[in-house]
């Protein structure tokens, strides 16, 4: 499991505090009343579909597009109205934004030259940074001579050169090939951990957020849907949007029957329901990998028979459509290991007893 940054944060003062932040573009609210605390040494991801406001929030933190209202505090100082040049951050963009006519070394040294440092100090610092990002030999090349992954490392080294207190990453891996992306994901995370620099990364890629972040901020239509560790976000989505956006989820409409009971079709399911009164229309959600095939073991809770529909082969497992008469016209997608499919000799049209574990069912208000 990840280090529990969230818990540690409870005793620390937040490094970056965003309160009641709103950003208007004309009459359109790109961000609405965003409040968020980010702690020192933490790696936080802003995750959401395009247009959800995640990049707008990052640019507000950087001062590149200052918010319409609300406060941003960094290290105890109010920086709400400051221009970017008076804030303390390093930034990496999806486009790398490397200066094409300067060598790698000169790019990395770009921010150092305006400070009072001797040439030898600058050279030593540049060499150190190039080692840090794993490119000690490439200093004299021009950006166009490097691969995308290498360019992004240089951009990272340039952003880190002045030892900023905050690192901002705007979709840094999105322009890269899938393989390079996975590799660099790991390296960036390791580097961040080693340097202990507070980092905010914007991404639309949930896998990236789940693997890299200490905490994820899921955003949608200008508001924060949920903040939590990757495991919390995945296991315990607080809204239907988060449940749908992260991973795969089955949704079926239901009605609350009483405490801990919800009716889907003719099926009565046992599950946890918080504060929803009897008769409320709800959406019942369960992940494909949480659908159980008892294989003869007696299961009384939430068990029913289903017919196997289309079976999609996805390499290490099958994703099958399950149609249950008791549930009406709704079908469920269920992940089944190769082993189960082989043991039960499953094929399309077979009848199969399945069960939905009560603690794995989520219920959201509304249909």
């Amino acid at each position: 499991m990840k280090p529990e940054a969230g818990q540690a944060g409870a005793v620390r003062k937040p490094f970056l505090r965003i309160s009641d932040l709103t950003k208007m573009f004309g009459t359109f609210a790109a961000l609405r009343d965003i409040s968020l605390d980010i702690y020192e040494r933490e790696f936080v991801c802003f995750l959401g579909p395009s247009g959800c406001g995640k990049t707008t929030l990052l640019r507000a933190i950087a001062g590149l597009d200052i918010q319409t209202s609300g406060r941003v505090e960094q290290a105890g100082t109010d920086i709400s109205a400051l221009p970017p040049s008076e804030r303390d951050f390093g930034i990496v963009f999806q486009s790398y934004a490397l200066f094409p006519n300067l060598t790698v070394k000169k790019n990395v040294a770009y921010g150092l030259q305006s400070r009072k440092a001797t040439r030898a100090e600058i050279e030593a610092r540049v060499a150190e940074l190039l080692v840090l990002v794993g490119m000690p030999e490439q200093g004299d090349k021009y950006p166009a001579q490097l691969s995308g992954g290498q360019q992004q490392r240089v951009a990272l080294a340039r952003a880190l050169a002045t030892s900023p207190g905050l690192l901002l990453l705007d979709e840094p891996l999105s322009a890269l090939d899938a393989k390079v992306r996975v590799h660099l994901r790991h390296e960036v995370k390791e580097l961040q951990h080693k340097l202990g620099i507070t980092t905010v990364m914007v991404t639309h890629d949930q896998e990236e957020a789940l693997t890299m972040a200490d905490r994820i901020v899921v955003m949608n239509q200008g508001v924060i849907e949920q903040v939590g560790t990757p495991l919390e976000i995945y296991r315990d989505p607080q809204t239907a949007f988060v449940a749908d956006f992260i991973g795969t989820m089955n949704f079926v409409p239901g009605v609350v029957q009483g405490p801990g009971r919800v009716r889907v079709g003719q099926l009565d399911l046992t599950c946890q329901i918080d504060g929803l009164s009897q008769g409320t229309d709800v959406t019942v959600a369960v992940r494909p990998e949480d659908i159980l095939v008892p294989e003869g073991k007696p299961v009384s809770e939430n068990a029913f028979d289903a017919r196997v529909g289309d079976m999609e082969f996805l390499g290490s497992f099958f994703r099958a459509d399950l149609v249950a008469e008791a549930m009406g016209e709704h079908s469920l997608r269920a992940d089944m290991s190769i082993n189960i499919v082989r043991r039960l000799n499953l094929k399309q049209g077979d009848m199969l007893p399945v069960a939905l574990p009560a603690e794995r069912i989520r219920v959201f208000p509304g249909q």
Binding site: A81, S85, F93, L102, Y110, P143, Q145
Partner: protein
């Protein structure tokens, strides 16, 4: 502190962004650019408009001058003449240039590079040159005057022929770009759907170049209707608006009527400009990143025909320039064809002598250096500054406005504005400075748009990265923006230089005896009947422009090898 006072004065949570030092410097620059544009474009035009509403004594008389204009047939007939000449020339130029551009882009003809260069030759000559050349070819003692079948070259025929020569490269460049950006997949689709060549042409080719074609039409139309050199030399008794302005101002010293004709000329130019802007605004990117470039396949007879066509046009272009070059060496046309240098002895003739040629070189050099600096810096500030939207939008508009203002009109407007006794800038009147300023302004728009295009291609986050690294913007401007945009900067400077060498219209009202220019000298020598020396001066302008152009090509290559090493992988 100011920020505390603001925090108290405004509602508690509304943020008023503080300006950084960079922001303040950039806004200062933007305001400077704004003041420059107001002084060099807006105020002169305003003075001209008000002049057209005044009597000779300077009192406001409303539309009296316009009433006089429209009740004098000799004057308002010129409107029809100008429109006719512009329309006919546009049809010829567009047709000829379209086939030429089609040959360059859609055939496997031989010598494409050479033909492309030949087609651009007219850009290096003042518009007087083809007119003078036609006098030698088709004039009363012209060597091939029989080809006109008894018609005189002095009049509409000569004007149209000269205008076609002069506007050909402008139309060609636009259409080559339009034709070159075709998506090859559309042609493959057309072939696989069994469309014939004619159907393919009307359903794929024409729609694909629609915007380029329209743009070329407006550009040529505007160039012709505002041109002064050709009708002046070869127009004879056929009056057009541009020559009317000259006659009113220089011939009759009737500045008010000159202003009226200017306003009349401004109308079609502005209308063409607005129409083009509206139509181009509808254009969406024809080429996407997934497009496949069209590759012509060799077809022997078709390619040969295209080569023949281009060779014919190329021969005519070189022939026209060659005629002027030859005539400039002839002792006494057509009786004594001995080749001599006497026509280059400008100092014994009226017009300004060799000094005018050196003045032109100096004027062009200043225009290139200062014009490029002003235009590129201005474009950078307007494009890259944060906030300040309304002011930036206004200046953007002022930067594209000069395109719609004919050179004659601008020149006359400068007289009214800068020669006004109460104008504190009065001291630049009659100096080299006013010639440089009017030329920069006259050619501002194309240069500005070139600079903007280059700047837009730069990553828009360069400035964000710089400010996060606390590097002032001007360091990034010098270290990154200027080097990366160097090809565009060189293009702008060469464009300004060549146009400053060849222009007549904007400067004709503004030179003084000390600052006579080569193109004006050629015009005056032609006026005085010294046609051969006029041809000689045009050729000097041509040689100077060509030399600078060649130097530019070499410099660009050298620069590319030395400082643009980063462009290659």
């Amino acid at each position: 502190m100011a920020s505390n006072a603001q925090a108290i004065a405004t509602p508690a949570h509304t943020v008023r962004p503080q300006l950084s030092r960079d922001d303040r410097i950039m806004r200062g620059f933007i305001l400077l650019v704004g003041v420059w544009m107001v002084v060099t474009v807006l105020l002169p035009l305003y003075f001209m408009l008000s002049k057209s509403l005044e009597d000779r004594g300077g009192d406001f008389v409303g539309l009296v001058n316009y009433a006089a204009y429209f009740s004098t047939p000799a004057l308002f007939y010129s409107i029809g003449n100008s429109l006719t000449i512009a329309a006919v020339s546009t049809v010829f130029t567009i047709s000829l240039a379209f086939v030429y551009a089609y040959a360059l882009t859609r055939s496997c003809m031989i010598g494409k590079g050479t033909f492309r260069v030949i087609a651009l030759v007219p850009l290096l000559a003042p518009s007087l040159l083809p007119a003078i050349s036609f006098v030698y070819l088709f004039g009363n003692q012209g060597i091939i005057k029989g080809l006109l079948g008894g018609n005189t070259i002095y009049g509409p025929i000569g004007i149209v022929m000269g205008e076609v020569f002069y506007t050909f490269p402008h139309a060609l460049m636009i259409m080559v770009v339009a034709l070159a950006t075709a998506d090859g997949r559309l042609y493959e689709a057309a072939v696989s759907l069994r469309a014939g060549p004619v159907r393919t042409f009307f359903t794929v080719t024409l729609p694909g170049i629609k915007y380029g074609l329209i743009s070329a039409v407006f550009v040529v139309f505007t160039l012709v209707i505002t041109d002064f050199g050709i009708p002046k030399v070869i127009g004879g008794q056929y009056n057009v608006l541009a020559t009317d302005i000259y006659k009113q101002v220089i011939g009759q010293q009737n500045f008010q009527m000159g202003a009226v004709v200017s306003v009349v000329l401004l109308i079609p130019a502005v209308a063409a400009f607005i129409a083009d802007r509206i139509i181009q605004g509808r254009q969406t990117a024809a080429l996407t990143s997934s497009s496949v470039a069209y590759e012509p396949k060799p077809r022997r007879s078709y390619d040969l025909a295209m080569t023949g066509y281009c060779a014919l046009i190329g021969f005519m272009i070189l022939g026209i320039v060659g005629m002027a070059a030859y005539a400039s060496f002839v002792q006494f046309w057509p009786y004594n064809l001995t080749l001599v240098l006497k026509n280059y002895n400008f100092d014994v003739m009226d017009g300004g002598g060799w000094a005018s040629f050196y003045n032109s070189l100096r004027m062009a050099a200043y225009t290139a250096v200062f014009g490029t600096a002003i235009i590129f810096t201005g474009a950078y500030m307007v494009e890259k500054a944060r906030g300040f939207g309304a002011v930036r939008g206004g200046i953007q508009f002022l930067c594209i406005l000069p395109m719609a203002v004919p050179g004659m009109v601008l020149g006359l407007a400068y007289i009214f504005f800068f020669n006004h006794p109460d104008n504190p800038l009065n001291f630049i009147y009659g100096t080299m400075a006013i010639l440089v300023i009017v030329t920069i302004t006259h050619f501002y728009t194309v240069s500005h748009l070139t600079a903007i295009t280059a700047l837009k291609q730069m990553d828009r986050e360069f400035e964000s990265v710089s400010s996060s690294l606390k590097v002032p913007f001007y360091k990034t401007f010098v270290r990154v923006t200027v080097p990366v945009c160097m090809p565009a900067i060189l293009d702008v400077s060469i464009y300004l230089f060549v146009n400053a060498m060849t222009t007549v219209s904007a400067v004709i009202f503004l030179y003084s005896p000390d600052t006579a220019l080569a193109s004006v000298a050629a015009l005056n020598m032609d006026d005085a009947g010294d046609i051969a020396p006029a041809a000689a001066m045009c050729m000097m302008i041509f040689y100077a422009a060509a030399t600078v152009r060649i130097l530019h090509v070499l410099a660009t290559r050298g620069l590319a090898r030395r400082t643009q090493a980063w462009r290659t992988r």
